[in-house]
Protein backbone atom coordinates (compact mmCIF):
# COMPACT_ATOMS: atom_id res chain seq x y z
CA UNK A 1 0.00 0.00 0.00
CA UNK A 2 1.43 3.35 -0.89
CA UNK A 3 2.06 6.05 1.64
CA UNK A 4 -0.44 8.23 -0.15
CA UNK A 5 -3.26 5.76 0.38
CA UNK A 6 -2.30 5.36 4.04
CA UNK A 7 -2.26 9.05 4.73
CA UNK A 8 -5.23 10.25 6.70
CA UNK A 9 -7.23 12.90 4.87
CA UNK A 10 -6.28 16.37 6.02
CA UNK A 11 -9.07 17.90 8.03
CA UNK A 12 -9.81 21.47 7.00
CA UNK A 13 -9.85 23.88 9.92
CA UNK A 14 -13.36 25.11 10.68
CA UNK A 15 -13.80 28.62 9.33
CA UNK A 16 -16.75 30.96 9.08
CA UNK A 17 -17.94 31.61 5.52
CA UNK A 18 -18.70 35.08 4.17
CA UNK A 19 -22.39 34.33 4.74
CA UNK A 20 -21.77 33.36 8.36
CA UNK A 21 -19.69 36.49 9.00
CA UNK A 22 -22.39 38.71 7.51
CA UNK A 23 -25.00 37.15 9.82
CA UNK A 24 -22.73 37.37 12.89
CA UNK A 25 -21.82 41.03 12.24
CA UNK A 26 -25.44 42.02 11.50
CA UNK A 27 -26.74 40.28 14.64
CA UNK A 28 -23.99 41.88 16.72
CA UNK A 29 -24.90 45.30 15.32
CA UNK A 30 -28.58 44.62 16.13
CA UNK A 31 -27.66 43.69 19.71
CA UNK A 32 -25.56 46.85 20.11
CA UNK A 33 -28.52 48.93 18.89
CA UNK A 34 -30.82 47.05 21.29
CA UNK A 35 -28.38 47.59 24.18
CA UNK A 36 -28.38 51.32 23.46
CA UNK A 37 -24.71 51.52 22.45
CA UNK A 38 -25.83 53.04 19.13
CA UNK A 39 -28.85 55.16 19.95
CA UNK A 40 -29.36 56.90 16.62
CA UNK A 41 -28.06 55.90 13.20
CA UNK A 42 -28.49 58.84 10.82
CA UNK A 43 -29.26 58.46 7.15
Amino acid sequence: MSAQENAAPLKKPWRLSLDDWAVVVALLAALLVRAGVFKHIPW
Binding site: W21, L27, A30
Partner: protein
Amino acid sequence: MADVVVIPQVQPVQPALRFLRIIPGVLLLAAIGYAGKLLEQNVGAYAKAHHWVFPNIEYVLWAILLGLLISNTIGVPEIFRSGVATYEFWLKAGIVLLGSRFLLGDILKLGGVSLLLVAVEITGAIAFMTFLGRVFHLKPKLITLLAVGSAVCGVSAIIATKGAIDADDEDSSFSIAAILALGAFALFTFPLIGHYLHLGDRAYGIWAGLAVDNTAEATAAGALYSDAAGKLAVLVKSTRNAMIGFVVLAYAIYWASQGQAKAVGNKAAFLWQKFPKFVLGFLLISVLATYQFFNKEQVGALANLSRWAFLLTFAGVGLRTNFRDMRKQGLRPFAVGAIGEVVIAVFTLGLVVGAGKLFGF
Protein backbone atom coordinates in the same frame (compact mmCIF):
# COMPACT_ATOMS: atom_id res chain seq x y z
CA MET B 1 29.14 17.54 5.92
CA ALA B 2 25.77 16.94 4.49
CA ASP B 3 24.02 19.82 2.88
CA VAL B 4 21.29 21.31 4.96
CA VAL B 5 18.08 21.35 3.01
CA VAL B 6 15.97 24.26 4.01
CA ILE B 7 12.31 23.66 3.31
CA PRO B 8 10.61 26.99 2.83
CA GLN B 9 7.56 27.26 5.01
CA VAL B 10 4.48 28.87 3.56
CA GLN B 11 3.28 31.38 6.09
CA PRO B 12 -0.52 31.62 6.29
CA VAL B 13 -1.82 35.12 5.83
CA GLN B 14 -2.48 36.55 9.29
CA PRO B 15 -6.12 37.51 9.95
CA ALA B 16 -4.95 41.01 10.98
CA LEU B 17 -3.11 41.39 7.66
CA ARG B 18 -6.18 40.16 5.75
CA PHE B 19 -8.27 42.72 7.60
CA LEU B 20 -5.80 45.52 6.81
CA ARG B 21 -5.80 44.50 3.15
CA ILE B 22 -9.55 45.09 2.75
CA ILE B 23 -9.54 48.56 4.34
CA PRO B 24 -8.64 50.62 1.19
CA GLY B 25 -11.35 48.93 -0.89
CA VAL B 26 -13.99 49.28 1.82
CA LEU B 27 -13.11 52.98 2.12
CA LEU B 28 -13.46 53.28 -1.68
CA LEU B 29 -16.92 51.63 -1.52
CA ALA B 30 -17.92 54.02 1.28
CA ALA B 31 -16.56 57.05 -0.58
CA ILE B 32 -18.39 56.18 -3.82
CA GLY B 33 -21.60 55.33 -1.96
CA TYR B 34 -21.46 58.57 0.02
CA ALA B 35 -20.67 60.57 -3.12
CA GLY B 36 -23.80 58.99 -4.66
CA LYS B 37 -25.83 60.14 -1.66
CA LEU B 38 -24.41 63.68 -1.88
CA LEU B 39 -25.07 63.81 -5.62
CA GLU B 40 -28.70 62.79 -5.07
CA GLN B 41 -29.16 65.60 -2.55
CA ASN B 42 -27.26 68.31 -4.39
CA VAL B 43 -27.78 67.74 -8.12
CA GLY B 44 -31.58 67.84 -7.76
CA ALA B 45 -31.42 70.98 -5.62
CA TYR B 46 -28.97 72.67 -8.02
CA ALA B 47 -31.12 71.83 -11.05
CA LYS B 48 -34.22 73.12 -9.27
CA ALA B 49 -32.49 76.35 -8.26
CA HIS B 50 -31.46 76.92 -11.89
CA HIS B 51 -34.90 75.94 -13.25
CA TRP B 52 -33.48 72.99 -15.18
CA VAL B 53 -35.57 69.99 -16.08
CA PHE B 54 -33.55 67.17 -14.57
CA PRO B 55 -34.83 63.75 -13.46
CA ASN B 56 -34.50 62.88 -9.80
CA ILE B 57 -31.69 60.35 -9.78
CA GLU B 58 -31.49 58.33 -6.57
CA TYR B 59 -28.27 57.57 -4.69
CA VAL B 60 -28.56 53.93 -5.79
CA LEU B 61 -28.10 54.87 -9.44
CA TRP B 62 -25.43 57.51 -8.72
CA ALA B 63 -23.38 54.98 -6.72
CA ILE B 64 -23.66 52.36 -9.48
CA LEU B 65 -22.83 54.89 -12.22
CA LEU B 66 -19.78 56.23 -10.36
CA GLY B 67 -18.55 52.67 -9.82
CA LEU B 68 -19.13 51.80 -13.50
CA LEU B 69 -17.26 54.94 -14.57
CA ILE B 70 -14.18 54.06 -12.49
CA SER B 71 -14.21 50.37 -13.42
CA ASN B 72 -14.55 51.01 -17.16
CA THR B 73 -12.12 53.94 -17.47
CA ILE B 74 -9.16 53.90 -15.08
CA GLY B 75 -10.01 50.44 -13.69
CA VAL B 76 -9.87 49.35 -10.05
CA PRO B 77 -6.24 49.44 -8.80
CA GLU B 78 -4.94 46.26 -7.13
CA ILE B 79 -4.80 47.83 -3.67
CA PHE B 80 -8.58 48.29 -3.61
CA ARG B 81 -9.63 44.90 -5.04
CA SER B 82 -9.84 42.80 -1.83
CA GLY B 83 -11.95 45.46 -0.17
CA VAL B 84 -14.21 45.98 -3.20
CA ALA B 85 -14.89 42.22 -3.18
CA THR B 86 -16.52 42.65 0.27
CA TYR B 87 -19.61 44.16 -1.38
CA GLU B 88 -21.29 40.72 -1.06
CA PHE B 89 -20.63 40.80 2.67
CA TRP B 90 -22.33 44.20 2.98
CA LEU B 91 -25.24 42.96 0.85
CA LYS B 92 -25.86 39.99 3.13
CA ALA B 93 -25.43 41.98 6.34
CA GLY B 94 -27.86 44.57 4.89
CA ILE B 95 -30.44 41.89 4.10
CA VAL B 96 -30.22 40.46 7.64
CA LEU B 97 -30.76 43.95 9.12
CA LEU B 98 -33.61 44.62 6.68
CA GLY B 99 -35.44 41.79 8.47
CA SER B 100 -36.28 44.36 11.18
CA ARG B 101 -38.66 46.07 8.72
CA PHE B 102 -40.69 42.90 8.10
CA LEU B 103 -43.17 41.53 10.57
CA LEU B 104 -43.43 37.74 10.62
CA GLY B 105 -47.06 37.89 9.43
CA ASP B 106 -46.02 39.84 6.31
CA ILE B 107 -43.27 37.34 5.59
CA LEU B 108 -45.62 34.38 5.96
CA LYS B 109 -48.23 36.05 3.73
CA LEU B 110 -45.88 37.38 1.06
CA GLY B 111 -43.42 34.53 1.49
CA GLY B 112 -46.21 32.02 0.80
CA VAL B 113 -47.19 33.78 -2.44
CA SER B 114 -43.57 34.32 -3.44
CA LEU B 115 -42.70 30.68 -2.67
CA LEU B 116 -45.38 29.58 -5.11
CA LEU B 117 -44.19 32.06 -7.76
CA VAL B 118 -40.54 31.11 -7.16
CA ALA B 119 -41.34 27.39 -7.62
CA VAL B 120 -43.07 28.12 -10.95
CA GLU B 121 -40.25 30.49 -12.03
CA ILE B 122 -37.47 28.00 -11.19
CA THR B 123 -39.17 25.13 -13.00
CA GLY B 124 -39.99 27.23 -16.07
CA ALA B 125 -36.55 28.89 -16.20
CA ILE B 126 -34.59 25.64 -15.89
CA ALA B 127 -36.73 23.93 -18.55
CA PHE B 128 -36.42 26.86 -20.98
CA MET B 129 -32.68 27.44 -20.48
CA THR B 130 -32.01 23.71 -20.96
CA PHE B 131 -34.01 23.72 -24.19
CA LEU B 132 -32.27 26.87 -25.43
CA GLY B 133 -28.79 25.58 -24.56
CA ARG B 134 -29.47 22.41 -26.56
CA VAL B 135 -30.72 24.45 -29.55
CA PHE B 136 -27.45 26.47 -29.47
CA HIS B 137 -25.35 23.28 -29.00
CA LEU B 138 -23.74 24.47 -25.77
CA LYS B 139 -21.81 21.97 -23.63
CA PRO B 140 -24.18 20.10 -21.23
CA LYS B 141 -22.48 21.34 -18.03
CA LEU B 142 -22.43 24.91 -19.34
CA ILE B 143 -26.19 24.56 -19.93
CA THR B 144 -26.60 23.38 -16.32
CA LEU B 145 -24.64 26.38 -15.01
CA LEU B 146 -26.59 28.88 -17.11
CA ALA B 147 -29.89 27.26 -16.13
CA VAL B 148 -29.06 27.37 -12.41
CA GLY B 149 -27.69 30.92 -12.67
CA SER B 150 -30.78 32.29 -14.35
CA ALA B 151 -33.32 30.21 -12.42
CA VAL B 152 -32.04 30.52 -8.87
CA CYS B 153 -29.56 33.13 -7.82
CA GLY B 154 -26.86 34.15 -10.19
CA VAL B 155 -23.21 33.94 -9.25
CA SER B 156 -23.58 32.12 -5.89
CA ALA B 157 -25.68 29.39 -7.51
CA ILE B 158 -23.18 28.98 -10.35
CA ILE B 159 -20.25 28.68 -7.92
CA ALA B 160 -22.15 26.20 -5.73
CA THR B 161 -23.16 24.10 -8.76
CA LYS B 162 -19.68 24.20 -10.32
CA GLY B 163 -18.24 22.46 -7.25
CA ALA B 164 -21.07 19.95 -7.04
CA ILE B 165 -21.01 18.81 -10.69
CA ASP B 166 -17.25 19.15 -11.38
CA ALA B 167 -17.78 21.70 -14.17
CA ASP B 168 -14.85 23.36 -15.98
CA ASP B 169 -13.52 26.73 -14.81
CA GLU B 170 -14.09 28.05 -18.33
CA ASP B 171 -17.79 27.07 -18.26
CA SER B 172 -18.34 28.73 -14.92
CA SER B 173 -16.57 31.95 -15.94
CA PHE B 174 -18.68 32.03 -19.14
CA SER B 175 -21.87 31.62 -17.11
CA ILE B 176 -20.85 34.15 -14.46
CA ALA B 177 -19.94 36.73 -17.14
CA ALA B 178 -23.27 36.20 -18.93
CA ILE B 179 -25.29 36.45 -15.70
CA LEU B 180 -23.41 39.58 -14.56
CA ALA B 181 -23.76 41.32 -17.94
CA LEU B 182 -27.47 40.58 -18.04
CA GLY B 183 -27.84 41.66 -14.41
CA ALA B 184 -26.25 45.02 -15.26
CA PHE B 185 -28.62 45.36 -18.22
CA ALA B 186 -31.64 44.46 -16.06
CA LEU B 187 -30.62 47.09 -13.54
CA PHE B 188 -31.28 49.85 -16.04
CA THR B 189 -34.15 48.35 -18.04
CA PHE B 190 -36.38 46.93 -15.28
CA PRO B 191 -37.25 50.28 -13.63
CA LEU B 192 -37.98 51.80 -17.06
CA ILE B 193 -40.29 48.91 -18.00
CA GLY B 194 -41.94 49.04 -14.57
CA HIS B 195 -42.70 52.76 -14.93
CA TYR B 196 -43.82 52.31 -18.53
CA LEU B 197 -46.30 49.60 -17.47
CA HIS B 198 -47.35 51.63 -14.37
CA LEU B 199 -46.60 48.67 -12.10
CA GLY B 200 -47.34 49.19 -8.42
CA ASP B 201 -44.50 48.90 -5.86
CA ARG B 202 -45.60 45.41 -4.84
CA ALA B 203 -45.94 43.99 -8.33
CA TYR B 204 -42.64 45.57 -9.46
CA GLY B 205 -40.74 44.44 -6.33
CA ILE B 206 -41.94 40.84 -6.72
CA TRP B 207 -41.08 40.92 -10.44
CA ALA B 208 -37.55 42.25 -9.82
CA GLY B 209 -37.00 39.62 -7.11
CA LEU B 210 -38.21 36.85 -9.42
CA ALA B 211 -36.51 37.85 -12.67
CA VAL B 212 -33.21 39.60 -11.84
CA ASP B 213 -30.59 36.95 -11.21
CA ASN B 214 -27.90 38.22 -8.93
CA THR B 215 -28.97 39.25 -5.41
CA ALA B 216 -27.05 42.55 -5.51
CA GLU B 217 -28.63 43.55 -8.86
CA ALA B 218 -32.11 42.42 -7.75
CA THR B 219 -31.77 44.54 -4.59
CA ALA B 220 -30.55 47.53 -6.62
CA ALA B 221 -33.22 47.12 -9.33
CA GLY B 222 -35.89 47.10 -6.61
CA ALA B 223 -34.41 50.08 -4.72
CA LEU B 224 -34.18 52.08 -7.97
CA TYR B 225 -37.98 51.88 -8.27
CA SER B 226 -38.95 52.69 -4.68
CA ASP B 227 -38.13 51.83 -1.09
CA ALA B 228 -41.17 49.53 -0.82
CA ALA B 229 -40.32 47.78 -4.10
CA GLY B 230 -36.73 47.31 -2.87
CA LYS B 231 -37.96 45.61 0.32
CA LEU B 232 -40.14 43.20 -1.67
CA ALA B 233 -37.44 42.47 -4.23
CA VAL B 234 -35.14 41.42 -1.35
CA LEU B 235 -37.84 39.19 0.19
CA VAL B 236 -38.64 37.40 -3.08
CA LYS B 237 -34.96 37.11 -4.04
CA SER B 238 -34.18 35.62 -0.61
CA THR B 239 -36.95 33.05 -1.16
CA ARG B 240 -35.26 32.17 -4.47
CA ASN B 241 -31.88 31.97 -2.72
CA ALA B 242 -33.34 29.57 -0.16
CA MET B 243 -34.01 27.11 -2.99
CA ILE B 244 -30.36 26.97 -4.06
CA GLY B 245 -29.51 23.82 -2.07
CA PHE B 246 -32.39 21.80 -3.53
CA VAL B 247 -31.62 22.73 -7.14
CA VAL B 248 -27.86 22.13 -6.77
CA LEU B 249 -28.54 18.80 -5.01
CA ALA B 250 -30.84 17.68 -7.86
CA TYR B 251 -28.18 18.55 -10.46
CA ALA B 252 -25.40 16.91 -8.40
CA ILE B 253 -27.43 13.68 -8.21
CA TYR B 254 -28.16 13.84 -11.95
CA TRP B 255 -24.50 14.34 -12.96
CA ALA B 256 -23.33 11.68 -10.48
CA SER B 257 -25.82 9.25 -12.09
CA GLN B 258 -24.16 10.05 -15.44
CA GLY B 259 -20.76 9.18 -13.93
CA GLN B 260 -19.55 12.76 -14.43
CA ALA B 261 -19.57 14.04 -10.85
CA LYS B 262 -18.89 12.77 -7.34
CA ALA B 263 -21.80 11.04 -5.59
CA VAL B 264 -23.51 13.05 -2.85
CA GLY B 265 -23.09 11.32 0.53
CA ASN B 266 -25.12 12.95 3.29
CA LYS B 267 -27.90 14.88 1.53
CA ALA B 268 -29.04 16.77 4.65
CA ALA B 269 -25.47 17.98 5.28
CA PHE B 270 -25.19 18.96 1.60
CA LEU B 271 -28.41 21.01 1.83
CA TRP B 272 -27.24 22.73 5.04
CA GLN B 273 -23.85 23.52 3.50
CA LYS B 274 -25.45 25.15 0.44
CA PHE B 275 -28.26 26.93 2.30
CA PRO B 276 -27.69 30.71 2.39
CA LYS B 277 -27.37 31.46 6.11
CA PHE B 278 -28.22 35.14 5.68
CA VAL B 279 -31.83 34.04 4.98
CA LEU B 280 -31.92 32.56 8.50
CA GLY B 281 -30.43 35.77 9.92
CA PHE B 282 -33.10 37.81 8.08
CA LEU B 283 -35.86 35.59 9.56
CA LEU B 284 -34.36 35.78 13.06
CA ILE B 285 -34.25 39.61 13.06
CA SER B 286 -37.78 39.69 11.69
CA VAL B 287 -39.01 37.37 14.50
CA LEU B 288 -37.29 39.63 17.07
CA ALA B 289 -38.90 42.73 15.51
CA THR B 290 -42.32 41.03 15.46
CA TYR B 291 -42.09 40.25 19.20
CA GLN B 292 -41.00 43.86 19.89
CA PHE B 293 -37.49 43.02 21.02
CA PHE B 294 -36.61 46.37 19.39
CA ASN B 295 -38.51 49.61 20.03
CA LYS B 296 -39.58 51.96 17.22
CA GLU B 297 -36.38 54.06 17.31
CA GLN B 298 -34.23 50.93 17.32
CA VAL B 299 -36.08 49.54 14.28
CA GLY B 300 -35.40 52.88 12.56
CA ALA B 301 -31.71 52.66 13.47
CA LEU B 302 -31.46 49.08 12.12
CA ALA B 303 -33.22 50.11 8.89
CA ASN B 304 -30.67 52.92 8.44
CA LEU B 305 -27.78 50.55 9.15
CA SER B 306 -29.20 48.28 6.44
CA ARG B 307 -29.31 51.27 4.02
CA TRP B 308 -25.64 52.06 4.71
CA ALA B 309 -24.71 48.43 4.05
CA PHE B 310 -26.64 48.51 0.76
CA LEU B 311 -24.94 51.78 -0.18
CA LEU B 312 -21.57 49.99 -0.11
CA THR B 313 -23.09 47.11 -2.07
CA PHE B 314 -24.35 49.37 -4.88
CA ALA B 315 -20.93 51.01 -5.21
CA GLY B 316 -19.44 47.49 -5.45
CA VAL B 317 -21.94 46.46 -8.17
CA GLY B 318 -20.66 49.31 -10.35
CA LEU B 319 -16.99 48.73 -9.53
CA ARG B 320 -16.95 45.04 -10.35
CA THR B 321 -18.82 45.45 -13.68
CA ASN B 322 -16.28 45.69 -16.48
CA PHE B 323 -17.82 45.57 -19.96
CA ARG B 324 -14.46 44.87 -21.68
CA ASP B 325 -13.90 41.71 -19.61
CA MET B 326 -17.46 40.58 -20.33
CA ARG B 327 -17.01 41.00 -24.09
CA LYS B 328 -13.96 38.71 -23.97
CA GLN B 329 -16.08 35.77 -22.80
CA GLY B 330 -17.65 35.13 -26.20
CA LEU B 331 -21.04 35.57 -27.74
CA ARG B 332 -22.86 32.22 -27.71
CA PRO B 333 -23.35 31.74 -23.94
CA PHE B 334 -24.22 35.41 -23.72
CA ALA B 335 -26.82 35.03 -26.51
CA VAL B 336 -28.37 32.02 -24.76
CA GLY B 337 -28.40 33.94 -21.48
CA ALA B 338 -29.89 37.05 -23.11
CA ILE B 339 -32.68 35.21 -24.94
CA GLY B 340 -33.39 33.16 -21.81
CA GLU B 341 -33.49 36.24 -19.57
CA VAL B 342 -35.88 38.11 -21.86
CA VAL B 343 -38.24 35.11 -21.95
CA ILE B 344 -37.95 34.62 -18.16
CA ALA B 345 -38.61 38.37 -17.62
CA VAL B 346 -41.76 38.24 -19.77
CA PHE B 347 -42.87 34.95 -18.20
CA THR B 348 -42.39 36.21 -14.62
CA LEU B 349 -44.10 39.52 -15.47
CA GLY B 350 -47.11 37.49 -16.62
CA LEU B 351 -46.93 35.44 -13.41
CA VAL B 352 -46.82 38.56 -11.23
CA VAL B 353 -49.71 40.24 -13.06
CA GLY B 354 -51.77 37.01 -12.82
CA ALA B 355 -50.91 36.52 -9.13
CA GLY B 356 -51.68 40.21 -8.49
CA LYS B 357 -55.21 39.70 -9.79
CA LEU B 358 -55.58 36.49 -7.78
CA PHE B 359 -54.10 37.70 -4.47
CA GLY B 360 -54.90 41.41 -4.81
CA PHE B 361 -51.62 43.33 -5.14
